[in-house]
């Protein structure tokens, strides 16, 4: 596994980031792929869920990290995919959304993780796409931005979490794309650059990434296409699965 920095302990969150960064630079061959795969496989629990590290915290975020990472490394067979999928499905709520654990409130971030993981494992048939699609398109508020849960403020990062989920279930046409583009662009700092969570707030690299990624999903001109499940440029994903 990988840690956040030199000398820290491994965790699945940093492991996927490391693998994604290496994939971007086409340097996956520097990895001991079997070792990384074993680390991740070792984090799967009896009920199919994944722990983040040896300390045992369980969250559907970790299911996504594990599945996405192993898929990039082409080692999905190292885990029990059926159980992993069943655990994710057990986190499905009546509004069609997903939480961090069974019974957890539907939250766009957790929904992205679950939908992404189900997409990668070819299990999208477990989702009621119309029901979830409606919940997701209800995230768009008057300003055109997206929130993550009912009655919360819009935030640019949900341009990724909500949008990628909508694309994966083929319902993105249910939001007003133009208004969302405007919201993201209005959240820029036009003097110093960068994008913030909403107009007039301070920028940071996190929201800049999600703003740009969201704009790419909205087919904003001049941006590379990004894969909604892997959160990597489409040409990188093609290289991993089809290229040499």
């Amino acid at each position: 596994g990988f840690s956040g920095h030199v000398g820290h302990d491994p965790h699945v969150l940093y492991t996927i980031s490391a693998v994604q960064i290496l994939a971007l630079f086409d340097k996956l061959d520097v990895l001991d792929i079997d070792k990384v795969s074993s680390y991740i496989a070792g984090l799967q629990n009896e009920d199919g869920s994944f722990s983040g590290d040896i300390w045992g915290e369980i969250d559907t975020r970790f299911s996504y990290c594990a599945i996405c990472c192993l898929a990039i490394l082409r080692r999905l067979d190292r885990i029990n995919v059926e159980k992993a999928v069943n655990y994710i499905v057990s986190c499905k709520n009546l509004d069609g959304g997903f939480g961090c654990t069974p019974g957890g409130e539907s939250h766009a971030g957790q929904i992205f993780c679950c939908v992404g993981a189900l997409a990668i494992t070819g299990s999208l048939h477990h989702i009621d796409k119309d029901l979830l699609g409606w919940w997701l398109c209800e995230r768009q508020v008057k300003s055109g931005g997206l929130n993550g849960r009912p009655e919360k403020l819009p935030d640019v990062c949900y341009s990724w979490w909500v949008l990628s989920s909508l694309i994966l279930i083929d319902r993105v046409h249910w939001i007003d794309k133009e208004k969302l583009v405007k919201f993201i662009l209005d959240s820029q700092d036009k003097e110093n650059g960068g994008i913030s969570d909403r107009p007039d707030d301070a920028v940071d690299v996190f929201h800049t990434y999600f703003g740009v990624a969201g704009l790419s999903l909205l087919e904003y001109p001049g941006l590379k296409a990004i894969d909604p499940a892997y959160a990597l440029p489409v040409d990188v994903v093609n290289r991993i699965f089809f290229g040499r």
Partner: protein, 330 residues
């Protein structure tokens, strides 16, 4: 003078640390994106690295991790090592609970803190139940939608118990802010999972009333509409045949014929086979935009047209609904 304003003594000058050689961070020969650390931070972490590498699980290490956490509560390795030290020195975990509470007050969305707290609660077992419910209540009083607090609270209820007062707690939170979706979610959690209640079926009638009251008071509130649907768990026949559900729709539409949530629920009811009274037809047809063409014999279709107009952001969704109306829909 405030005692917190005392001059901090660097570790290098503390007698009790004189035997330890601090270990600097190894950023490699060509560091990418180097951070400009403050001296106090750098020094504390140098000493942390030293005890971490020598695996010194002692009382002074424990204090050192407190310092490191104070400087960066997101450093998960420090928390990890702290757990090892707590076990090794046989620390009083109740004191540790107080420590976490103190750190959490200013860092209530920090994943490491919540995980550490759960580890402590697991170790203490059933006796931690009251304290954990109180702690999450304290955090929720500052931010009633804190996802971590709710997640922890759900874990406490399921593993340690304490369901008795949970429904009342949800009620209180909803009285404070009826728009709190997390509280509505928790209410559903209690109704469906509490071993003290009879399950969804047993509670459905009273919960429908509760949701209906909330809807009438604030028809623009998304949560009770979703809650109401959730009570029927896909049992379309039951939701259609309960007159209370259609009545709440009608009552809202009488006051505001353009309420999107009411129209949306009416649409779904019609799609499930609801036979609308004339009153429904009258209200819907009178709010129809006069230039949306001839009157549609299907009420459901008219509802969709209205929704396309009053909720233009989601017009694609409503037009898709219109083109997918089941034949049985009125």
């Amino acid at each position: 003078m405030d005692s917190d304003e005392e001059e901090r003594i660097p570790y290098s000058q503390r007698k009790e640390w004189s035997d330890v050689i601090p270990l600097p961070q190894d950023d490699g020969p060509d560091p990418v994106v180097s951070i400009a650390y403050k001296d106090e931070f750098r020094e504390t972490m140098d000493y942390f690295r030293a005890v971490y590498h020598s695996d010194e699980r002692s009382a002074r290490s424990l204090d050192l991790t407190s310092d490191a956490i104070g400087l960066n509560p997101g450093n998960y390795t420090v928390w990890h090592f702290r757990r090892l030290v707590l076990v090794a020195v046989g620390a009083d975990l109740h004191d540790e609970m107080d420590f976490v509470e103190h750190v959490a007050e200013n860092n209530s969305k920090n994943y490491q803190i919540w995980h550490h707290r759960r580890w402590l609660a697991e170790k203490l077992g059933a006796e931690a139940m009251r304290k954990e419910l109180k702690f999450t209540q304290k955090i929720l009083a500052l931010d009633a939608k804190n996802y971590h607090a709710w997640s922890h609270r759900q874990w406490v209820l399921q593993v340690l118990g304490g369901w008795e007062d949970e429904l009342d707690y949800c009620q209180q939170l909803l009285e404070d802010d009826v728009y709190n979706n997390s509280a509505w979610n928790q209410r559903y959690f209690v109704i469906t999972r509490s071993p003290l209640l009879g399950g969804l079926q047993a509670s459905r009638e009273s919960e429908v009333r509760y949701a209906a009251d909330a809807i009438i008071a604030n028809p623009e509130n998304e949560s009770p509409w979703r809650y109401l649907r959730g009570l029927y768990k896909g049992d379309n026949n039951s939701i259609v045949s309960n007159p209370e559900v259609s009545t709440v729709c009608l009552d809202v539409l009488k006051k505001n014929p353009y309420c999107v949530f009411a129209l949306s629920l009416l649409l779904d009811l019609l799609c499930y086979g609801f036979q609308p009274r004339d009153e429904f037809r009258r209200i819907v047809e009178s709010s129809r935009n006069s230039d949306s063409g001839p009157l549609d014999h299907k009420l459901a279709s008219t509802v969709c047209s209205i929704l396309e107009n009053v909720d233009p952001m989601r017009s694609n969704y409503w037009s898709w609904r219109k083109s997918n109306l089941p034949t049985l829909a009125c």
